[in-house]
Symmetry: D2
Subunit: 348 residues, 4 copies
């Protein structure tokens, strides 16, 4: 068994890791740490864990890096960059959940931070050259040997997986892709603010940060390596009264002569070996992937208008966050990529 430490264990990201690792055949939870709610078992904070995980939550200062094989930083933006050096110096590979290590270039980080309205100085900028963008479907080789993996943003994962075959195969004509995102509220965490209290959210849909969401730069950076002129992303995220789930609908001009049948074949072939990807001709439901690490994509062409459309669903807390992180960890620890991640969901 490999030993994992989770920094930031008391948020939804940390909880997702705990829930997965409790079922994982080869990784065990060695230590939990957090800033708040320390000195008591995690099952006091998340009562459903009682009897399953009663490990005490430590302060960051109290952790012990001996015998740790992998570290998960399920911490907010700008937390990981202040502690990364300890882990790097101890040769402990790190998977960070924030934007701190999603970019190799300080310029890209700055755009990200500015879009999020944060301080844009990076306190571990020398580590950026080691950072690997943690999307296994595209970067498995680099992830395997990485010391620092930046786990992607949840929307980024859905957008990239939904468009990757089309961008790489060059079937998109336009330089701009429209991405319309819908997300559940759990992505905002355990303390998502007044707009996401039950009374305020249960019957409300609204958009936010239209065309300036921080995940745009992630997607453009990645696609920028693949195609010139660079693709620009127009992304409008929307919050819907949903707990778990992301659905992204993307639109672009299609190269002439390509129809729904062809894009279905192209996508099916592209993702044939990817264990968590399903290409489908049915309209996917967020419930199809809820509670799992799967991603389902319906690619199609509206021939009447020459428009390429893909609809992509993931569970924002799993393939969009902790599931993807464990997939990364499996690769980094030379475990089967799907270990601990292949259970069917409960429905309804």
């Amino acid at each position: 068994m490999k030993n994992a430490i989770i920094i930031g264990a008391t948020g939804f990201g940390g909880l997702g890791l705990i829930e997965i690792l409790l079922r994982h055949p080869e990784i065990r939870i060695a230590q939990l740490a957090a800033r708040r709610d320390t000195g008591k078992p995690i099952s006091r904070i998340f009562t459903h864990l009682e009897g399953f995980c009663d490990i005490e939550v430590r302060k960051p200062e109290e952790i012990d890096l001996d015998n740790i094989d992998i570290a998960f930083f399920s911490t907010p933006d700008r937390a990981g960059m202040t502690i990364i050096n300890d882990f790097f110096n101890n040769n402990i590979p790190v998977i960070d959940f924030s934007g701190d290590f999603r970019f190799n270039s300080i310029e890209h980080y700055r755009v990200y931070a500015q879009n999020k309205g944060m301080d844009d100085t990076h306190h571990a900028s020398d580590m950026l050259r080691h950072a690997v963008y943690g999307l296994p479907e595209i970067n498995a080789q680099q992830i395997r040997n990485a010391s620092v993996v930046g786990n992607p943003g949840c929307f980024s994962i859905a957008i990239i997986l939904g468009l990757l075959p089309a961008v790489e195969e060059g079937i998109i004509e336009s330089d701009t892709i429209i991405c319309d995102g819908k997300t559940g509220v759990s992505g905002a965490g355990k303390n998502p603010g007044e707009a996401n209290f039950y009374s305020q959210r249960y019957e409300n849909v609204n958009s936010y940060r239209e065309a300036r969401h921080q995940h745009i730069v992630e997607v453009e950076t990645l696609f920028g390596r693949m195609r010139s002129p660079q693709i620009k992303i127009v992304f409008v995220p929307q919050i819907v009264p949903l707990n778990r789930g992301i659905l992204v609908t993307a639109y672009a001009d299609i190269r002439e002569g390509i129809n729904s049948e062809k894009v279905f074949e192209l996508y099916s072939e592209y993702y044939r070996e990817k264990p968590f990807l399903t290409v489908t001709e049915q309209s996917p439901n967020t419930t199809d992937v809820r509670g799992t690490n799967q991603c389902r994509i319906k690619p199609m062409v509206d021939e009447r208008t020459g428009t390429f459309i893909t609809i992509t669903v993931i569970d924002n807390l799993l393939k969009g966050q902790s599931g993807n992180a464990v997939q990364n960890a499996n690769i980094m620890l030379r475990i089967d990529e799907t270990a601990g991640l292949m259970a069917p969901a409960f429905y309804p």
Copy 2:
């Protein structure tokens, strides 16, 4: 007081009319009719109406057209066309909630019917030349004198109102407009099918009829009168776990030199005299308009990509259906356009 008859009183459309007319200062409910649940008070079917409206629901054969000033057909597709003649011959103006009278041309009706998977023969095709598209913000003059008004589809209303100033003022460069719609389930009515039971819907988002929704032809027909070459609409509707509300996000290429400030001014000016339209720089919430006949629009430009974006919210059962119908009725009966429709919503 004017006398109204509601055919199809036992669905959500009929209920919406009842709830509005109970507060209306100049229109009273004279008769209620429906196919099912007849012979008992409407308050047995909708128990919250007890004490407010206990009128008995009649069979269609039992209605009496004497002294009726206006008729609402809150009936499904293809019902209105079989009874319209009686009303027309009695000089009773009709507002129909289905697609039966939204088109002047039989060809457009056929596209509509085929997209909805229905029989496409029209049993009152001679009435189509009398039909007026019932969107008061654009057709008030014709509505005033109409004998048959086709109340628009709920998505059509949100799409058209969100784009109308831009299309009419010619600031859209592209021939295609992307419309991404999110709707609550109440639009599917009281018996919306297995996918919309609480257990199946509460945590699910899914798309349906992508790029072939029946409202596309409504929008294209209307915009076709205004601009050449004709604008094509790419419309992907999505159902979210919401009861009431529609939010449509539309995307198009913007003419060079136009920024967010300019489109905000243009929209504000265009809708200045429209009592139910609000142009806003804030991201609108579906709860802003829930329970009202209002429509709120946020127009903006993403200058980085040259993309025009509008976000439009309505209550699908009110401005998207029965509220809009009463607005039409007010105009047809020479009553103040806002009568019975200007109350603030309850929140939360």
Copy 3:
């Protein structure tokens, strides 16, 4: 028109008052005050009010008591007691939403405060002898002449109205009544704490403060005047994933020989003149009364076990709070008791 001031305008209680008074034929909103979010229009805080109510929210120090006919304190516990004297000295009748003025005796207040875990000293204890318990169905005469009305707790209203005829008519045999309450989350206000974020609440039911909820003492105090030996209330409240609505199921031993038919008659007769009370043989729905000032009660007897059961529903924000407060205000200002309160709800 009478002039009202609302202190605590930026919470759900204040909002409820605003929404009702905007439709009220004889009371207008003269001033709004609050501790936070001052200096801007209320429609910036509750965006759905834009165009309906754009009055600026003042600091409590900035209010002006000239020409004020009635004051609503929609403030938390222990706020009203610090400002009541100003209003009393200016002969402005006050309706307070908290527990500050629900009791005539300092002992009862102390039990209330202790059960809620608050400081139990009362800073306006000399005012308690003027305080009238603001339940119009039982206290209309005293309310008419009151200078200070304590608007009851939402659960108290549902419990009392559901049991009042039975207690007063003496058909309950036992000295203990079991009250099982279910409430939506809006009762906890705009900032209800971590347990009521959408993700945490949407699929959770839990009980809290079992048998020690602060409303017990209100009910026992009231019933204590009517019956000896005093009735004791066992009350277990539960939060369900609901926004608006309270349903209370009460159980007690029934006097022999009384069946469902008899209690139905007794209740119907008792509430015959009460405009907001409906006695029904159908199982009531919270949606029957949502958005209204109504209370619906189903009284029944399980003859097999000799158990009296009543099921009572109200909208916790209306009959349970601001609707009841306006009903009190109508009585105090010699306006028709139902003014501004008789609209049917919107459904669904």
Copy 4:
């Protein structure tokens, strides 16, 4: 591996079994059968199963009983009784989800059927003497050797487990116990009727079949064996806007001298060896047990009124249905009782 057949595979009960057995180390799904939706893979009906379970659903006439070790009848009332003989004659033990085999006496069955408004003749009444009430916490020994197990009603399980220690230890003074139940809608199945569409349910709480729910006779029959005079149950069930989850609050007079501490000890001791039972001093949440086979109970005493109160939560589809059924199957097949049932839930 043991082979299981599921009759009634296309409902939520069947689905629950499939989801559990896919993770089960010692039972595999051999065949699926149902009345409707036959001839296609189960993953076409429940799309989230794609890739996890693509077994074709057969008609009941097409099943093959060779090599079947256990049969689950996740069928509606009155279906199992028509097919039980085939299985009995082939020595295949059966676990039935309906009320068909929950009683040894035809009289009890009749009360059950009448309360549910069904035909009360039993077409396999000779099998009733073989029937074992399938609650492992009380009947493990008989279940082990049973040929026919009647899996209890979901409410019955919550009520019985919540009261069992108190009834058996004789600490309840009264002959009547009040049970107030709250349930999510998934218990009503995939086609729960108009009242449970999203629009109708999302903001509604209502009671139903007050004091005449069909599960009362199950509980009284069971407790009747333990105590004389027989305990009577007053049970009022309520539906809340919840998908999964049951919370039952029970009230009875407590024997003098017993306080919260003592009942907590008594309950803790009583359930010490039961793997799925947790006795807690915290107010339990339905989310604590959602997605699991657990039951959590908070027993307490309100000394002020002499009232014993227990609050019990289960997942109605798991410990309340298919989880409990697999627990029975484990016992019948001499597998560890917890096999396949011990995973922690996902939250939120």
